[in-house]
Amino acid sequence: MNVQNDMGFSELKRLWQENARQLAASLRLNAMLMQRANLGKVETTLGRLARAIAFELVLILAGIVLVGWFGAHNPQPKFLVPAAMIDLYAVAMVVANARQLAVLKSIDYDEPVVAIQQRVEALKLLRIRTTLGALLFGPLMWLPFFIVGVRLLFGGDVYAAAGPEWLIANALFGLAVIPMAILLARIAAPRLHRSGALRRLADDVAGRSLASALHDLAALRRFADH
């Protein structure tokens, strides 16, 4: 076969189709297996993702209700302020998750490839940004969570027990953790060969996932334009 001319490509097409026909013969078995299985129970990756996002959404909404109840029973500003911070954080997460669900709903795989892949990449970007936001704000939020949690679970008062110096030192520590976490993730991500979830988390924090998704989205736009 010589692909130096169009005759060569016609021969290539013929060989390729012949090869595919031979390989397709082995797929009969899979079709038979599918026939036996209950197709109604088959779940897609997007279906699983939608369920996971909806589950997160329900958990966060339950958290908002709980913090609302906490605020109503602890009206002093020293408890209301951290509770309001948690609520703001949770509302931001609700908005992010609802946006993800909306994009997910708009993905219909029987539409043209470029349009769907752009939506899939947009969804990935949203997921990465949500994870990044949650992780980077996490160290700042741990103190309000701690104050509200101790009050909610044990009826204690962290302000009285620990004093203002301890609270300020912990807030500053939370701030310092953010650049340290980014640095650690950059060093650790390439070494985390065994754990897929940990590696993805490290890539998210280090900004690698974001850079990769932006690169893919730009490539898709270039493909559609030229």
Binding site: N30, T44, G47, G196
Partner: protein
């Protein structure tokens, strides 16, 4: 139509066009296990979408759209994972190579190895071209203009010719 009737109709359509599953599955997976996972995922998505198939597009066009969308999504996520594991500098390599099964045909293997080194979208264009789809059909499946399809196929053919020419001169 009863649920059993729909299922029978779906399995019949799947059987008539199982070549599409093989072509797409082989072109976007690293290992036979990956390929089986990918084909199962394509079948699951086809089954989910089947009740919405209204016959406006040819069944093969509709199946190609779904199969390619599932495969490219699958491939990009696997590719990212591979990049993350194997490379310190992710900018250096864009895609991983996909092995080819050609039943011992060396010439076909040589060409397909190069096709499988194309990025996910150009590879989709080439799969459809090799499957003898018209430019109008390719444009409908991929979602770009026919002119764009012709340009891309021209570029890919040129690249293949020059790569293979260079290899044959060695």
């Amino acid at each position: 139509m009863s649920a059993n009737g729909v299922q029978a109709e779906f399995l019949d359509a799947l059987d008539r066009h199982r070549g599409i599953l093989v072509k797409v599955g082989n072109s976007y997976s690293r290992t036979p296990a990956d390929r089986d996972d990918l084909i199962q995922e394509i079948i699951a998505q086809l089954w989910r979408s089947f009740p919405r198939y209204d016959g406006r597009a040819k069944l093969s066009t509709w199946m190609y759209r779904i199969a390619l969308n599932v495969a490219i999504t699958f491939y990009r996520s696997e590719s990212r994972r591979a990049r993350s594991v194997e490379l310190r500098d992710p900018a250096k390599v864009e895609e991983f190579d996909t092995p080819v099964e050609t039943a011992g045909n060396e010439a076909l293997e040589m060409v397909l190895e190069r096709v499988n080194q194309l990025d996910a979208l150009n590879r989709a264009v080439m799969i459809l071209y090799l499957d003898d789809r018209t430019y109008a059909e390719i444009a409908e499946i991929i979602g770009i203009s026919e002119t764009n399809v012709a340009t891309k196929i021209g570029r890919i053919k040129q690249r293949l010719q020059s790569d293979i020419g260079a290899q044959q001169r060695k």
